[in-house]
């Protein structure tokens, strides 16, 4: 293969280096219909001269390859994973079993509604649960992830303003907002403008007031916010926006901290998204699939995307698409159904009592860790925290950065926290509610040992990790001269 980087002795084999011509891991039944001559039915120019050169590997070696790859990943099942803002909680096994039930998994999206009444009833219940948790009027189950929910919500806000004869161009986001917030603004043809946060992490109301005007479409806020504090000014923030006809959008990434304790609809939110893959424990799957259901207040319901799951007058469930004011369709078919089934199972199993327990234990865990670590590291924001908190290495840490600490945690078999966001040099730590006290204490012990190493042996931290199949990778070169497929070209 031309220009392929030379395989080194210690390199882990890549799929294309395995197998031999003629091997295949799957056996198919012999065809029981007469063969149709391809070139009789299809113009020769469209026919492939030979099949694509996919790898040719026997079944056992395919199994071993993926088994070995699976050993080269941290996961919630294998490791404490305090990745701030991502809510890496335990993903209950039962939800996988439920979603795989053939009567739920083996449904075609164009089957008649009469064939899928049970599923539609479940989706309808889920929609009501999510509306209830949000304290809002209605919910769309269509969005595929949080960012897709943001886009959907902003489109609805645009449509709402348009229905009032307005084209409002500016969407405000606090400077601590997640990157998807401003990116979603652009996707929706809006301009993102930043609102200052105060030293305590709360929105600077004076700055907000000076920026809200008749051209403001909305403020996108995360509450509890990304530094881990609940902004108690939230009702006032809503009032400032509503007084000028602007809408309050809630990024629901941090809903885990307030389930059953306070409801966005009750604190002035007009539209919000959930991340089922955070709050409702649907597995992250190495980066998806998620789902980003969107909840809205009454005045925004006409603009919800289609299709919408409804209970019809005759008592059956169905999809409604005839909605003239709807923003339209945002994805194919009917949403991330398999993910939504898991979210349903999770909410149904926990119930109102269990959901509240989630929030309480998540907040307890975060505040416990913060209390145990505050002597060794700086905690720039005032407690009590919600479900996560920000920690910054001390200036006297001999040039070791948050990155070094994060990488050293890997040697303790702990997945690094979120790094360097939303403030410089920080670690954002979210233990979640599902960890035991033993695990939390193990984390404290690891962080204590690292603090000690920073004093006495900073090089061991700066060169971490030492226990992984690879050491730190050259990410700069990977972007400068990207090799994104095999064989490299």
């Amino acid at each position: 293969m031309p220009n392929t980087p030379k395989l080194q002795q210690q390199d882990f084999p890549i799929l294309f280096e395995l197998g031999s011509p003629g091997l295949c891991a799957v056996s198919l039944p012999k065809s029981d219909v007469p063969q149709t001559n391809l070139s009789d039915s299809v113009p020769g120019d469209l026919i492939a001269a030979e099949p694509p050169s996919l790898p040719e590997i026997g079944e056992l070696d395919v199994v071993r390859h993926y088994k070995k790859l699976s050993r080269r990943c941290f996961s919630v099942d294998g490791n404490f994973y305090p990745l701030g803002s991502c809510t890496m909680k335990y993903n209950p096994r039962i939800n996988e079993r439920v979603a795989a039930m053939p009567a739920l998994a083996n449904l075609h999206p164009y089957q008649d509604e009469r064939d899928v009444q049970g599923l539609l009833e479940m989706m309808h219940r889920l929609k009501q649960y999510l509306a209830q948790i949000a304290g809002l009027a209605d919910v769309s189950l269509q969005p595929a992830a949080g960012a897709h929910g943001e886009m959907t919500g902003l489109m609805m806000i645009n449509a709402y303003h348009r229905s009032n004869g307005e084209e409002r161009k500016i969407v405000l986001t606090p400077d601590s907002a997640h990157g998807t917030n401003p990116a979603s603004c652009t996707i929706c043809g809006r301009e993102a403008a930043s609102v200052r946060s105060k030293a305590d992490g709360r929105v600077d109301l004076d700055d907000l007031r000076s920026k809200v005007d008749d051209n403001t479409a909305a403020l996108m806020i995360t509450n509890p916010n990304t530094v881990g504090v609940f902004d108690e000014q939230i009702a006032e923030i809503a009032d400032i926006l509503h007084a000028r006809g602007a809408q309050l959008y809630l990024d629901g990434a941090n809903m885990n901290a307030i389930l059953g304790k306070t409801r966005p609809g009750d604190f002035g939110v007009d539209v919000m998204h959930y991340n089922t893959h955070k709050t409702f424990s649907t597995p992250h799957g190495g980066g998806g699939p998620g789902a980003g259901p969107v909840a809205v207040a009454k005045h925004l319901t006409p603009f919800l995307p289609i299709p919408r799951v409804i209970l019809k007058d005759d008592g059956t469930f169905g999809w409604e698409s005839n909605e003239p004011q709807s923003i339209g369709k945002i994805r194919s078919f009917f949403g991330q159904t398999g993910v939504l089934v898991r979210a349903y199972a999770y909410i149904r199993a926990l119930g109102h009592d269990g959901l509240r327990d989630v929030a309480e234990c998540a907040v307890l865990s975060a505040n416990y860790l913060a209390a145990r670590l505050k002597e060794l590291y700086d905690l720039p924001f005032p407690s009590p925290y919600a479900h996560e908190f920000i920690l910054v290495p001390r200036a006297a840490n001999h040039g070791a950065t948050e990155l070094d600490i994060a990488k050293r945690l890997i040697d303790h078999e702990i997945h690094p926290p979120t790094m360097s966001w939303p403030v410089a040099h920080c670690l954002m730590i979210e233990p979640t509610e599902t960890e035991s006290l033993d695990t939390l204490d193990h984390f404290v012990a690891a962080m204590t040992e690292i603090a000690d190493e920073l004093e006495n042996d900073p090089d061991v931290v700066r060169s971490a990790p030492h226990t992984m199949p690879v050491r730190r990778l050259d990410e700069v070169e990977a972007s400068r001269k990207p090799i994104v497929r095999w064989p490299a070209d």
Partner: protein, 445 residues
Amino acid sequence: MRYTQFTNPQVQQMLDVIGVDSIDDLFSTIPPALRFTKPLDIPEGISELELLRDVGSLAEKNTSCDKLTCFLGAGAYDHFIPTVVDGLASQTEFLTAYTPYQAEASQGILQLFFEFQSMVCLLTGMEAANASLYEGASAAAEAMYMAAGITRRNRIVIAESAHPDIRQVIQTYARERGVEIATVPAPNGTVDETALAKVIDKQTAAVLIQSPNLYGCLERLDRIIPVIHEAGALAIVSTDPLAAGILKPVGNFGADIVVGEGQALGIPMQYGGPYLGLLAGRKKYLRKMPGRVVGMTKDADGRRGFCLSLQTREQHIKRERATSNVCTNQGLLAIRASIYMASMGRNGIQQVAGQCFDKAHYAAQQITQLKNYELRFDAPFFKEFTVRTTHNVQDVIQSCRDNDILAGVPLARLDERFTDSILIAVTEKRTREEIDQLVAALGAV
């Protein structure tokens, strides 16, 4: 159920360390007026066994394709999924990992995505692919933005023969960005090639063609794409990756961006999602691509390794100037598709595609021998075709359903012009006997 694991004495111990009296003290930042003190109006929690019964009783109200013979398609297909796909993709090291931002602790998933990208390139005939988008239709919308970004133009032409989900989703996305949409007609099941050149103007960023298209027909990409390029626009093609088992990958015809729905690659039908959005392009457009891309690199000791590459395109770095807002994508579905492609390999994929082709053609041939049925369009097809009937379409569908057969999608559901037609998909999973039963049921209407 509770998935938390603190005992009461532990809670007390933790509160003591924090220095507060009660858990409620930790929620003191929520103003009293905003606290929700009642129980949520959601049923009380239940045990695992009760949950199985609850979901089981709902599931029982469905009739799944386990009990029916499925000839439905139009973007979701009843293909065979080898056991290794479920077995390996459900390994919880994959299932319960986050996006692989921490490269050293995520080499397995990073390499897997790199291999996925490589195999998607093979099936699309392109030089670079990303690590997935949500599903086929939003992938097409992302491709539209990508083309607009590359050309700095704001008009898109979409083939009338593309799936309405693609057309509608692009419309939803385009409205907000002021991207104008035009349509190239497809009066006879494929794009009208003479009309094509006329709808492309100087402001046209790209033309989106789907092949195999909504009606199952293969578009003449060999003739269409040169016309698009001649007129100065980019060619975006939406395709079924499985077709590349026997047909030329669409990139071979000069497509600039290829998108598609990857469900056929080992993903359960699951009532329409989660599926797998594919996006691939020419390498020169790599920096304009949406979504995550994994690159091969070296570690500090010179060993081969993998990491997320070109992150400066992405929202967490570029924010409002990012190429897309996509963050969480469809990682686990890309993992499934990877395992599927690796298991099938070169010969398996050819066999699957070949059997789809043979069985669809056998079915079409048998059906058109019936008195009241004929092929709606003359164009060549892969695994799906449109049949016109003189019967009432709903009667045909119902009559087959009475025989536990899902005969096809009434085409009017997707294109209201064709009230007399049914879209029939035949995968490698269908047997001759099942096809003959379909033919008999159609004949007995």
